[in-house]
């Protein structure tokens, strides 16, 4: 195949009538006659259907008979038929990337049905462009990179642990890194889980136990990830534990770093009055049991204020934290259960108890006489002190249109989940993006919800945004499946259409590194290099390189310029041009 590069291009052109689809509008024999006059064209013919078995055989025969080293088929869109014609080339010993399609159906005969003469002239132009481009085509190879069947999971909360178990049970080796001294994450701070009222600590302990006893899971507690270099299948990880560095290799990386509760400093007297808590702080009180709670807060009247620090006008906390409505209903239920005579008020903007089972909980809460007061964003409640450590909550009831005053002995603030402070650092280490809300940002909200654009790195759980346990686990299973694919295959295919940097021209300006959506450009010793396994072939870097140091395989400047220069006939045909190296 290498020799073809050196040879003078010998282009074969096959022009398809597509029955009457093209032939009924475009004068195909005339186009064929014209094609024969083009530079580098060694052979041209027309067929009724080039994509038929007969048409394919004719291509193969002509390649052999005329020693063709480039093939142009003028027919339909490359988006459907390119693989078929490339296959014919391969069968006849021509590299598939030396094939070019001229689209004279979708872009010509079908849109110019009432102008057959003009359509014929345009078809000639399209064929001329394709032949010009074909003369500059070069053979390309798709290749494979091996994948280490080992995963690194960052974060030992319920999402990370579930994902670790899922992968380990499929036979993969897993490193589970947790920054805290013990596994469990956020669940350790929670009392009961909605909607089933499961004991959160028991759920956690079961998972921790399974993880600790699994032979394929290497648990690294009190561990931070210092660096992750490399690319899918071949990541080199440096982890730090008690100041000691360890290095290991993995094939995939899963981010499961979770989230933390937003601390509403300066809001509703949170840092002024002892009896203003957040929901997670209330759960901690629940965890210590009713007797312990009796000593501090034997509540007669409790007010829970929703959307504290959430759904703000501007990012980063413009989002709905998704879980707080259910958390408030659940915790209000615990208070009503422990102190049946107490009054519990949930002061809300909108109750968002979406989906299966959750709305039933909302209804049940109403039946158990938990009271709901609607407030609007422009008239938030106020918390002011009363004697005996009690608090007055003044709220404008938006549905009744009147002000209410509640003497409370406990005020609970429902605050959103916010990203852990380590996410910013980790996002830089792994070169994966954060959204406006500073949670990790997936590649596509609907189509690739747990992937990053960078292959081999995935995200699950609340590191990606607020979620409850069920939703986090769904994502934990999803990432396990996504990561298992390449690890089970032990290899990934790389694109043939990738960027190539000319180190002589590169000045290491980092523009390509900055623009590459896939983290494929790495600057080493002041020069950019491309990780083929990460490059998707978009060419954004090549279009931006001021030094013109980047060539896009199969979409080189030569090839595109050849099309630009031949799009309209403005000068007489030149003698054949040899392709540049």
């Amino acid at each position: 195949m290498g020799e073809q590069q050196e040879e003078q291009p010998k282009v074969g052109v096959f022009i398809c009538q597509c029955g009457i689809n093209i032939g009924g509008v475009v004068n195909v024999p005339q186009v064929t006659k014209y094609a024969k006059t083009l530079p580098n064209v060694a052979y041209a013919e027309d067929n009724i259907y080039t994509c038929s078995a007969e048409g394919i055989d004719k291509i193969k025969a002509a390649i052999k008979a005329y020693n063709l080293n480039r093939v142009v088929v003028a027919s339909c869109t490359p988006r459907t038929h390119e693989p078929l014609f490339r296959g014919a080339c391969v069968d006849a010993g021509v590299n598939p990337y030396l094939f070019e399609l001229a689209n004279i159906r979708e872009h010509c005969s079908w849109v110019h049905m009432r102008e057959p003469e003009k359509a014929t002239e345009k078809a000639k132009d399209i064929v001329r462009m394709a032949v010009a481009r074909a003369s500059f085509l070069k053979p390309q190879q798709e290749s494979e990179v091996p994948v280490d069947p080992t995963a690194l999971i960052i974060g030992g909360g319920i999402s990370g642990m579930t994902s670790a178990l899922c992968l380990a049970n499929q036979g993969f080796k897993v490193y589970l890194a947790e920054r805290e001294p013990e596994l469990g994450g956020m669940l350790r701070k929670i009392y009961r889980l909605y909607p089933t009222d499961d004991d959160a600590l028991k759920v956690t302990d079961v998972a921790v136990n399974d993880v600790m006893n699994h032979k394929s899971i290497n648990v690294l507690t009190s561990t931070n990830i210092k660096s992750v270099d490399g690319y899918i299948g071949n990541f080199e990880v440096t982890a730090v534990r008690n100041g000691e560095e360890t290095k290991f290799k993995v094939g995939t990386v899963i981010i499961a770093t979770g989230a933390v509760e937003f601390k509403p400093v300066g809001m509703y007297g949170y840092d002024t009055y002892d009896r203003v808590l957040t929901q997670v702080e209330l759960e901690k009180v629940f965890q210590s049991g009713k007797e312990a709670m009796d000593k501090f807060y034997k509540p007669q009247r409790v007010a829970m204020i929703q959307c504290v620090g959430a759904r703000e006008d501007k990012p980063p906390r413009a989002y709905c934290s998704r879980i707080c409505c259910m958390v408030a209903i659940k915790n209000a239920g615990v208070i009503k259960q422990w102190y049946p005579d107490s009054e519990v008020y949930i002061i809300y903007q909108d109750m968002q108890t979406y989906g299966k089972d959750y709305e039933e909980h909302h209804q049940r809460a109403k039946e158990t006489n938990i009271k709901f007061i609607n407030y609007t964003k422009d008239k938030p409640p106020e918390v002011t002190p009363l004697p005996d450590n009690r608090l007055k909550v003044t709220v404008y009831h938006a549905l009744l249109g009147q002000k209410r005053e509640l003497d409370c002995d406990l005020v609970v603030l429902s605050t959103p989940l916010v990203p852990h402070e380590s996410s910013k650092e980790l996002s830089k280490t792994l070169k994966v993006p954060l959204g406006q809300d500073e949670f990790f940002l997936e590649a596509h909200v609907k189509l690739r919800p747990v992937d990053f654009a960078t292959d081999g790195i995935y995200v699950c759980g609340t590191a990606h945004g607020p979620k409850d346990i069920g939703e986090s686990l769904s994502q934990a299973y999803a990432v396990s499946s996504r990561a298992a694919g390449p690890m089970a295959n032990r290899k990934v295919r790389t694109e043939a259409i990738t960027a190539v940097v000319d180190p002589e021209r590169c000045i290491g300006c980092r523009m390509c590194e900055k623009l590459c959506p896939f983290g494929a450009h790495r600057i080493e010793e002041g020069k950019s290099t491309v990780i083929d396994a990460l490059c998707k072939g978009c060419g954004v870097c090549a279009g931006a390189c001021l030094r013109r140091a980047i060539a896009m395989r199969h979409f080189t400047d030569d090839q595109i310029m050849a099309e630009v220069k031949t799009a309209f006939l403005t000068e007489l045909p030149k003698p054949p041009e040899a392709p540049t190296k």
Binding site: H107, W110, V111, H112, L515, G543, V564, K565, A567, T570
Partner: protein, 146 residues
């Protein structure tokens, strides 16, 4: 001059959205005039300012660049890079005496065959109003007919 001026338009279409949109125009048999020639790139972000400038240098009367809608780019952010470049190019064009209206950027999705055809029609009419490019080249009269 009795004959109407026929603008020459060159289109750079990204493979994933706009080229597929142009295909759909064909599949749906939505006709538009024959003035446009199309170059396929994988992403609108591949279009180099030099490709566009070369097109104008060749005497082409108008250049259309189309990509995926914001947020829909197959390569995540390639179309944003393209948008910046087109803005920059419009500046350059106006400085060298080429009306920046001769360069147009549009977002066309794979489902917008009708939109693609409409844009091509609009662009041809707009460029027709502007008249031939100051760099317009004509085939020598002695040239044999194609």
């Amino acid at each position: 001059m009795t004959e109407q001026f026929e603008p020459r338009i060159l289109g750079f279409l990204c493979n994933w959205c706009s080229y597929a949109g142009a295909d759909l125009a064909g599949v749906s048999r939505i006709s538009y005039p024959t003035n446009i020639r199309i170059i396929r790139t994988m992403c609108s972000g591949r279009v180099d300012p030099l490709h566009v400038l070369q097109a104008f240098k060749e005497g082409i009367d108008g250049v259309l660049v189309t990509g995926c809608h914001p947020g829909d780019c197959h390569y995540i952010t390639g179309n944003y890079a393209c948008e910046k470049r087109v803005k920059f190019l419009k500046d350059v064009l106006s400085q060298v005496g080429i009306d920046p209206k001769r360069l147009r950027l549009e977002w066309v999705s794979a489902s917008e065959g009708g939109k693609f055809a409409r844009i091509v029609k609009e662009m041809i009419e707009d460029v027709r109003k502007l008249g031939p490019s100051p760099l317009r080249k004509e085939l020598p009269e002695s040239a044999p007919q194609q």
